[in-house]
Amino acid sequence: MKVAIASGKGGTGKTTLSTNLASFLSENNKVVLTDLDVEEPNSGLFLKSELIHSEDKFKMIPEWNKTDCTLCGNCQKVCNYHAVIQLGDMIMVFPELCHSCFACSELCPTNSLPMIPQKMGELKHFKSKNLDFVESRIKIGEEQAVPLIKQTLDYIDENFDDKVIKIYDAPPGTSCPVIEATKDADFVILITEPTPFGLNDVILAIDTMKELKKEFGVVINRCGIGNDDIIKYCDKHNITIIAKIPNQRAIAELYSNGELLWDKIPEVKVELEKIAKYLTAFNINAKPTL
């Protein structure tokens, strides 16, 4: 089963829930947690595990070879992103704008734009007992997270079979990286906080998931602050609130020390049990049962 943990707003508890849920479920299941927030991966801060594999990740970028180029201008015409432009007798390529679609390269009559691999980031695979942890980290200055997220998901699919529970810690927001991180998930947990900001942004995330036709439910974090508008919203729109993680100073202190919560705070464990039960019911016909 693939479960993505997303939110509209940043800082509402995606990583807190991802790491705790993954660790909790790994008591009785094989679990792989993947940090897909490649621009600022932080799940690893909370897990004590051993590095077992790392690899560089590449994207393909055209490189202009002027020898045979007839300056026909076709490359810049077919590029939707203005990543290739012609300036007089010169072709310029902007690697940050390139989406690796190969159009300029494939459609060049003289093969003057061969695609060259360019490093965009690094993938690391850690392991401790039943819990595997994979994170990718994008190179500083690289603008596009989507290709790295996609390759990270491919790594998970190649290395873990269907029996392993897959938890994805998604990036914040509702833009392309979030779509990429959630589009293959069987279920999406949207975590939010009961504040006006949290509500506004979770509504954006809910609308996004509806558009993607995803099964999803809401978890409220830091329950007790703000107001109950999020509860009213979910009731009105028939959206399940799967769990409510309380607002506690002790939680913030453990988090600040890079520690997991569920083995130390009983109220958190109770909420994780609710989530596990909900996911089991959702996944009733699939193996393994949680």
Partner: protein, 112 residues
């Protein structure tokens, strides 16, 4: 010499557009012929990415040697302008085209 402006209109008293890549128009003043011409850049609205390089390329085709704008081009566009040898002056975003031209002539604009 040809001088290009990023603008919101096509007349001397039109407002400048402080943006480079997403400017509404490029207005070009040819100092030799005293002609003022313009190019519509609004089709850039359809582009989510790459507005800067595209605008820089458009500017290159206009053969302007000097660009007068507001905020200044972003990184990609600046690379193109550097390659094409276009001199860029910034800080004219709130002026009219005429005011921007006078400011340039009086050396009151900052070189990018």
């Amino acid at each position: 010499m040809k001088i290009a402006f990023t603008t919101k209109g096509t007349e001397w008293d039109s407002k400048m557009d402080p943006r480079f890549g997403r400017t509404e128009f490029f207005v070009v003043y040819n100092e030799d012929t005293k002609e003022l011409t313009s190019v519509d850049n609004k089709d850039v609205e359809n582009d989510a990415h790459g507005a800067g390089p595209k605008a820089a390329q458009r500017l290159f085709e206009l053969k302007a040697e000097v660009l007068i704008t507001g905020n200044g081009p972003g990184g990609n566009a600046a690379t193109v302008l550097q390659k094409t040898g276009t001199t860029c002056y910034i800080g004219a975003g709130e002026m009219t085209i005429k005011e921007a031209y006078d400011a340039y002539k009086n050396n009151d604009l900052k070189k990018f």
